[in-house]
Amino acid sequence: MARMKFLCDADRCIECNACVTACKNEHEVPWGINRRRVITLNDGKPGERSVSMACMHCTDAPCAAVCPVNCFYTTADAVVLHSKDLCIGCGYCFYACPFGAPQYPRVGNFGSRGKMDKCTYCSGGPEVDLSVAEYEKYGSNRLAEGKLPLCAEMCSTKSLLAGDGEMIAQIYKERVIKRGYGSGAWGWKTAYRETIAI
C-alpha cells in the first residue's frame, strides 16, 4: 500500500509562496489560516535556505495522541485527517505538533477558537467523497479525483514533491546522486565564492 508523503527539496525552493497561495485558493481556506507556509532560514544572508512546511502526516501523530475527543484518524494512504464535527477547539494538537500545522480561524480559548483546520493532503475529510459538505469543511478532495496535492503539482521549481513515499524518495535520491548534496552544486559557490561555508 502506498504511503503518501511530502518532501521539500530545500535546494530548489525559491520562497515564491506559490504553494501557499495555491492551497488557500484550492480549498478556500478561511482568513487567518495557512495550511502551508514557507519558512526561510538565514534570510538575506549567505546560506539562506527556504523550506515549504505543512502537516507532515506523521506515522505516530502527536496531534492524534493528545486529542481529548479522538477526532483524528489515519487513512489507508497514511494521511492524517480529522473530523470537524468532533473537534472542540481545545488547541492541544496545536501545542503537540512540532510543525505548527493545526490552525484555528479565531484567536481565543477552547471553543471560541473555532474548529481546527490543517492540511488534508488534498484528500477531504470523513464526509462523502467530493460532496458539498466535504468541500465546505475540508476543501477539495484531489486524491479521490486521481490527482496529487496542488501545492506540489504546481511547484515551479519542482522543489515540493508529493505522492507515494517510495517514488518521491527515489526521485530525491537520484537528484542527490546527480548533483550532490547541498547548495554548492547549484552555483551557490559561484555566486558567493568558494569561501562561503554552508
Binding site: 500500500m1 502506498a2 503518501m4 475527543v69 479522538n70 477526532c71 484518524y73 489515519t74 487513512t75 489507508a76 494512504d77 485527517l81 473530523s83 468532533l86 484528500s123 470523513p126 467523497d129 478532495n141 486524491l143 479521490a144 486521481g146 490527482k147 496529487l148 506540489a152 503539482e153 519542482k158 514533491l161 505522492g163 507515494d164 517514488m167 518521491i168 527515489q170 526521485i171 537520484e174 537528484r175 546522486i177 546527480k178
Partner: protein
C-alpha cells in the same frame, strides 16, 4: 398597618417568603428529575471512523504518473 412578610403581596400575588419556598420546592423536584436520568446515556464515545472513511483514495493515474515523470525528468529518464 405593616404587613407580615408571609402575607405581603407583590404584583404577582406571591409573598417574598412564599416565593422562595415555592422556588425551593421546584428546584428540589428538578434535581430529583436530573438524578433519575441514567448516566450511561451521556457517556462519551470514542470516534471510530468507518472503513469507507479510511479507505485508500490514491490511484496511480496518468495524471499522477505525469507528475512523477516531470519531477524526475533529470534523473528518472534514461
Amino acid at each position: 398597618m405593616r404587613q407580615d412578610d408571609d402575607t405581603r403581596k407583590d404584583g404577582t400575588g406571591l409573598g417574598r417568603r412564599q416565593f422562595f419556598r415555592t422556588l425551593g420546592g421546584g428546584t428540589a423536584a428538578a434535581a430529583a428529575a436530573v438524578a433519575s436520568v441514567p448516566l450511561g446515556t451521556t457517556e462519551a464515545q470514542a470516534y471510530d471512523p468507518g472503513s469507507a472513511e479510511t479507505r485508500s483514495r490514491y490511484r496511480e493515474t496518468d495524471h499522477v504518473k505525469a507528475f512523477y515523470r516531470t519531477n524526475g525528468y533529470e534523473t528518472l529518464k534514461k
